[in-house]
Symmetry: C2
């Protein structure tokens, strides 16, 4: 546990959406800014699959966070004005309780005995955290990628807990193409001999499976158009062995896979990945009914990118229409960012401007 | 060797484009229709990576071929009029000499001692085959997918050998995104312990690697839009084991992977796959020059599909412009087929009509 992380003790037993429970569960979280006296300036940031609570630097940790350009003094999410909370997702391996945590009952890691994890569990635990901080209602929940599904799960299960939504690069459900990509990532991990049905250790880590899973994922994070610009054909090198690395894009995948392999716990990855394929926001209403009706949402900004393969823009259009149909003042923006699914992490100007404007229009 | 396959003995030694040679090399091929007296009705069909010479049924084999709807009496490629030749690619494992063939010098399979294979070699060997059949000039060369690259290699290296081109779902070069997909497919095969650096056998076949390679490939063969229509969310089943098959799209991938695993030789797959990443039609001319100039091409039909992830439509636009710039009467058609890269195999009406019209306009 890094000493800049704060800990929230979940109630115990903490029961999961699909059944099962854990004791002594904790969420690791970080905050920026201060909750004002009225308690109405809180923004909950829900993360993508592999991100952690360290969204931006702060006084206890000056390491840049994964949304450093977005959060801070006088940035788009201005921490002089807003109180921002970001937790490592329940089930992840970044300080919050997950499958690789020790089960207090047995003294061993949960591994596959960790309860089935859904984005509803991630959302619910985050709401409990916010309530523990004295927040009776959020001003805004922001969710990119998996966080967008988590935000929807929060709204569906906790009506009126947030007034506004910023939903980025996500959907009410996962298209089969995205499920296929995640399924192959999980298969790569599960089939690594070192995975050993979850009984791996630091010394026998499923490195190859984790690397391969990352490479498959990277097919979906950026875009073919961006890669056309980044990887000149002419830089291919002579490989050291038959069918070794030869093309620039292969070096790129290998580099990122190597960076990732020990940064994430393999079983945590499986659990979080599956939670995205399980989520179905449409299932909260009868067929033909609008599941987002009467959830108390005042305004929303829904953002997608034309180049996003993982959550194509028809998904954001669907959410936008459901929100409008629910009486929410929803704005839809489909960006021309060429960075695909990752655009919210890379296209700083576009995303800073969008989020700054949405917060401005809702802070009257 | 299936008894309906005809064999063409390559000259020996047969030298490869990047060096190296083989002896006793053969191409397995099939033909439909008859070469006319003037010898001007020959169509050479160059295949995709995993296809073989059996493009359609004929009197010696009534099994449906991979382009059954396209080739035959009174079909778009009317075999009452045209003499059609299709060979299994040099390097493949469908009767033509490839890495899994026996090296006559050693009596053992070539494995990685097979010379480096390029689409130029596939093109050149096919030209020699056609010449052996008495064809001094082709009326048309047709190439989908890898076959499109092979067709370009033929035109670039054998000017004036074909009068017309039908180029489908391919490009002058492979975009980094497509190279990445193929690289991961190769990696899946190479890393299977049963692959054993090429020393696998029927009893220790790299099944898992081949299956996984096929699944990765299938991400790119159809389209997310088609899968949205095919795979309803609601059909998910309870898996027999933790993280087992649960979603319809997972069953689909597993089914197709199982069908493929013993249909193709693993080293052949590696060689053919890499040949596509090596091909660069632009390298045939100095920067800024048009490599397709003065190749004697009279007309061309260039076809792409908006939903093709593997060979996006900007590639077909590039070829079309180069062809126009070379003085060739090129037509470009980008179809609305939702079947992605595989559209030419599935969208029968669209592709039959396109090819029939192109053959009509060139048969005056």
């Amino acid at each position: 546990m890094a000493n800049y992380l704060r800990q929230f003790q979940l109630p115990q037993p903490y029961t999961f959406y699909r059944g099962g429970y854990i004791n002594q569960g904790i969420l690791a979280y970080e905050t920026w800014g201060e909750l004002n006296e009225q308690g109405n300036n809180a923004i909950l940031l829900l993360t993508g699959l592999s991100a952690d609570s360290h969204a931006a630097s702060h006084s206890s940790n000056d390491t840049a966070g994964w949304w450093e350009f977005m959060i801070g003094t006088n940035k788009a999410i201005n921490t002089k004005k807003w109180f921002v909370i970001c937790a490592s997702s329940l089930g992840s391996c970044k300080g919050s309780t997950g499958p690789c945590s020790q089960n207090p009952t047995t003294g061993n890691p949960y591994r596959f005995n960790f309860p089935d994890l859904t984005v509803e569990d991630i959302a619910h635990s985050a709401v409990l955290l916010c309530q523990s901080l004295g927040i009776s209602q959020l001003h805004t929940v922001i969710g990119p990628s998996m966080g967008g599904m988590t935000a929807l799960a929060l709204i569906l299960n906790h009506p009126n807990y947030t007034r506004h939504l910023i939903h980025i690069a996500s959907g009410m459900t996962s298209p089969p193409f995205s499920t296929a990509i995640r399924s192959l990532q999980r298969e790569a991990i599960l089939k690594d001999v070192n995975f050993n049905q979850g009984y791996y250790s630091v010394d026998s880590w499923p490195e190859e499976g984790m690397k391969f899973a990352r490479k498959i994922g990277m097919l979906s994070y950026r875009s073919a158009r961006e890669w056309n610009e980044r990887f000149p054909r002419s830089l291919k090198k002579v490989p050291d062995q038959a069918f070794g690395i030869e093309f620039p894009v292969e070096s790129y995948l290998e580099h990122h896979a190597n960076r990732f392999v020990h940064q994430f716990d393999p079983i945590s990855y499986l659990y979080l990945s599956r939670s995205m394929d399980w989520f179905n926001g449409h299932s909260y209403a009868a067929k033909g009914q609008n599941p987002l009706i009467q959830k108390g949402l005042e305004t929303a900004l829904v953002v997608g990118a034309h180049t996003d393969l993982l959550f194509p823009t028809d998904l954001q259009e669907t959410i936008h229409q459901l929100l409008l149909g629910s009486g929410c003042d929803s704005h839809l923006t489909i960006t021309d960012s060429i960075q695909g699914h990752d655009a919210f992490l890379v296209d700083k100007t576009t995303f800073s401007t969008l989020i700054e404007k949405q917060l401005e229009r809702t802070s009257q």
